[in-house]
């Protein structure tokens, strides 16, 4: 087990090195730190002096080493536009994105289980057929179209919900949260619904198909033959067996939600990391772009490594718990 963890961590370090190298190459070939520092109105000679001073004329491996060393200390360069350390800019935008992912996850969790179970135990009911039809179409509708439709219905026509920005936020330590004010929560509703629409149909279908498979098993038939109540059979015997494969997939797909925040944030002008990133691209803010690349890369590597290690730890226990 220990060997497994070590191997997995070593591998993660190698991957982070690769990410750092990609980030470095982008910065090295595209970025212009001199412009970032002093702007364009400086003579060539002065530029050259600054380049020397910054070590930009050093051999590439040394520069890469310096890049990694600085990155390890949290220095990912200065954002050209914000005139602040890039990492600070990203971290200040992170709460917005994480709250959006959180909101969408809550919506998914609240709806996918009851709906998935219902459509599994009543596959022929008209409501189930309707849900399945909607979820089939839902998979094909891009998240930004869902978002536009939501804004049109609830923002423009009905005027029930705010459609852009985060509303009122409260600083909680270093964390700017919109979860504690009524206004912030109202602003969170539409973006979260839009974001959840991308995964909810997939989860409903997954839970439904897993549950239907379980309902066909001998042990469920035996549970009926034992004269148990239907709710105990559905919610304990069948559901508990459905849960294991679903949880496995759930961890992986949270990352996909994160990817789709970029689209959601754009439509709703949600001031998160994705919105910031696209602004950075528009403004050719290379340092910020590279910092984003490194942060996101490291985030995924860390999450995946942790998930893998947890899974490795849990796996023997899963076997004990009887997952065949």
């Amino acid at each position: 087990m220990f060997a497994f963890i070590v191997r997995r961590v070593l591998q993660a370090i190698v991957v982070m090195g690769v990410i750092a190298f990609i980030g470095f190459s982008v910065q090295h070939s595209i970025g212009d730190p001199v412009r970032d520092m002093v702007g364009e109105r400086v003579s060539l000679a002065e530029r050259e002096a600054i380049r020397d001073q910054l070590g930009l004329n050093d051999p590439v491996p040394i520069q890469f080493g310096r890049f990694c060393w600085k990155a390890l200390h949290g220095d990912l360069g200065i954002s050209y536009f914000h005139k602040r350390p890039a990492l600070d800019v990203i971290l200040s935008k992170a709460p917005a994105t994480l709250e959006l992912v959180f909101g969408a996850t809550v919506i998914i969790l609240v709806f996918c289980f009851p709906v998935g179970i219902y459509t599994a135990i009543r596959p022929r009911a008209w409501l189930s057929r309707f849900v399945m039809a909607v979820s089939t179409v839902g998979v094909a509708v891009p998240v930004f179209l869902t978002a536009i439709v939501l804004i049109y219905i609830f923002g423009v026509e009905l005027r029930w919900l705010p459609t852009y920005g985060r509303g009122e936020t409260v600083a909680l330590g270093g964390w700017d949260t919109g979860l504690l004010t009524a206004d912030g929560l109202l602003h969170l509703i539409l973006p979260s619904v839009a974001l959840s629409s991308i995964m909810l149909p997939l989860y409903i279908r997954l839970i439904r198909s897993e549950m239907m498979e379980v309902l066909e098993t001998e042990y469920i038939k035996f549970a009926w033959a034992k004269g148990l109540s239907r709710w105990r059979i559905w919610l304990l015997h069948a559901f508990k067996n459905t849960l294991l494969p679903v949880i496995t997939v759930f961890g992986v797909e949270i990352g996909i939600l994160f990817a789709f925040t970029l689209l959601t944030e754009t439509v709703f002008q949600w001031q998160g990391m994705g919105f910031m990133f696209l602004e950075a691209v528009e403004r050719s803010d290379t340092a910020l772009l590279v910092a984003y690349l490194v942060v996101v890369g490291v985030m995924f590597v860390v999450i995946n490594t942790l998930v893998d290690i947890c899974y490795g730890l849990v796996n023997p226990m899963v076997r004990v718990a009887g997952n065949p």
Binding site: P142, I256, A259, L262, L263, T266, L278, V281
Partner: protein
Amino acid sequence: MNAWRRLRKSYFLYSFRRDPVALASFAIFFFLVLVSLFAPVIAPHNPYDTSTIDVMDAEIPPAWMAGGDARFWLGTDIQGRDLYSTMLYGLRTSVAIGIGAVLFQGILGIVVGLTAGYAGGRVDSFLMRVADIQFSIPYLIVAIITSAIFQLAFGLGRFEQLAMPLLIVIIGISEWPKYARTVRASVLGEKQKEYVEAARVIGLNPARIMYRHILPNTLTPVLVISTIQVAQAVMSEAALSFLGLGMPVTKPSLGSLIKAGFQYVFSGSWWITTFPGMLLVTFTLVVILFGDWLRDVLNPKLYKG
């Protein structure tokens, strides 16, 4: 001729004929592909021909609405282009990118998967590690970051010029691991079988065994995921273009049309986004439905992951 007769008698065609959803979705798919192929012939206007576009015609509603113009039955967009023609050209671009990207990722993934599966050992574990690592980062993130880097590297003007081939490469790069894993899994399955053993015993060279004997047997799962991947690629293109990282507004694709109309939806010009949006949903939906059917019928053991 013989193959055709065999196909006509096959279970494949039989179940296709009996499934109205499969039939309808394939018919619509086929129709849309034809339309996009012949867009220059069908479309009444050419959105690339700036001489025929008049900004005075901008934001004209569809012909059946008050203020509509009989020349533009679905209305015009903000630059005064005929929306119907622009959509046809946009579909053409989207489909071309979708199919191109799938070809690109397919070839890349198949080569990697075949090599890994057949060579085994260190080559296998190295290639699959790379695939695993990329697979653990959502394809959309990979695509977005890659195109952002490309955009900065090439500069906006040059990126817009090269947008189409670049998008094919970007979407291709972001999705190849799926093919690599699928192909590798089925190569490992095929390798166990006697006919490969027999081919090796009679002294055929490995490359020949791989391409002439193993590859054909891995094509079923490849075909199945390819259908879904086309839908995925078209949606990726739309997402990238919507973010401003894909096709520029001057080169219409479904995504860039939706983006262009997005700001005007709420001020009343709903059609600029709605019609391309509906076309996009229809296209991806029929491809997904057809892909689902294909998967159920061919039922290969897909690599889950």
